[in-house]
Symmetry: C2
Subunit: 186 residues, 2 copies
């Protein structure tokens, strides 16, 4: 019997910890949420040290994501992918910015090769990055995978603005804490 | 209220059309299934013209996938991603080849930038490609996105063998038929 469908879920603590009605007015507020998600995911032991969140043009939250690879038995369940999946189901738009410009993804760590590729199709206008790929690979054993040489330019030429290093130290701190705790790397 | 989980599903016809117990002994038999899935997905109007299938070392089917972007309202729901997701849930292994070497993915079209990146983490040993990215972009309006310059070498250096052009003409034929039918491009 082949599987016909599968479900991907966030940890149960998300509903209680995240205020779904708050407005996140600037890049730093948006990244602070992504970093907080990464920290909570480590503290609760519910996945890898990565968080992400999707916002509309007004800074309202459309979805959040955390790394769920091991708990969900899915190599797809990175924080950014969870956030895209849930935001698209929530809005009913497979391209989030169809008719709704100004969508932002905040990612506590630079998207790996999979999440990078997914970013072209998800329908976002701005990508905020906390820790860099170099940070991730310096502080943990996570692999970021291969990107095009001009990874940033490829995004920008398709209309996706990129801002790197937003709350970078806070994002790095979570990665260090995870590594110090001997977290599984997946 | 934020979404906490989401489900991704194959079309209902898959169970009746695909023999889950058959053994697919060689690359051509494995690709024939992926191309057949792409053709059925076009005929039934259940998504884009792409199919994929995951096999174990003996050629037994672990999962199939077809493009479900529009029906599932998810830019993640490419054929390869559906196949990885379902194979991992089916086997209970987030890396399919953990303790089970010899996993193959057959993809009727060359993986786009997202599915390419996902291939590094899914745990496959062999990637079979039908139509090339150039074929996809020549015959349809689908965008494949940016890949590293040496995309094939990046896979091979991480232990993933690549065979291109398997049943390429058959795979191209489905893309042409889809384009001639004025299919939505997503």
């Amino acid at each position: 019997m082949l599987s016909h469908d599968a479900r991907l879920a966030l940890p149960d603590w998300v509903g209680a910890e995240i205020d779904a009605t708050a407005v996140y007015r600037d890049d730093e507020a948006r990244m602070a949420l992504a970093v907080r998600l990464s920290a909570l995911n480590v503290e609760r032991g519910t996945g890898g040290p990565f968080g992400a969140a999707v916002f509309d043009a007004q800074g309202r939250l459309l979805a959040v994501g955390v790394n769920r690879v091991v708990p969900e038995t899915s190599s797809i369940a990175h924080a950014e992918m969870m956030a895209y999946l849930l935001a698209q189901k929530h809005t009913g738009r497979a391209r989030l910015n169809d008719g709704h410009p100004g969508i932002t993804l905040a990612a506590s760590g630079q998207p790996c090769c999979m999440c990078y590729g997914a970013t072209f199709w998800a329908g976002i206008d701005t990508l905020l990055i906390g820790a860099s790929s170099a940070d991730v690979m310096e502080l943990t054993d996570f692999d970021e995978g291969p990107l095009p040489a001009d990874w940033r330019g490829e995004l920008e030429r398709r209309g996706i603005a990129v801002r790197e290093g937003v709350l970078r130290e806070a994002a790095r701190e979570v990665l260090s804490r995870y590594a110090a705790g001997g977290g599984i790397h997946y």
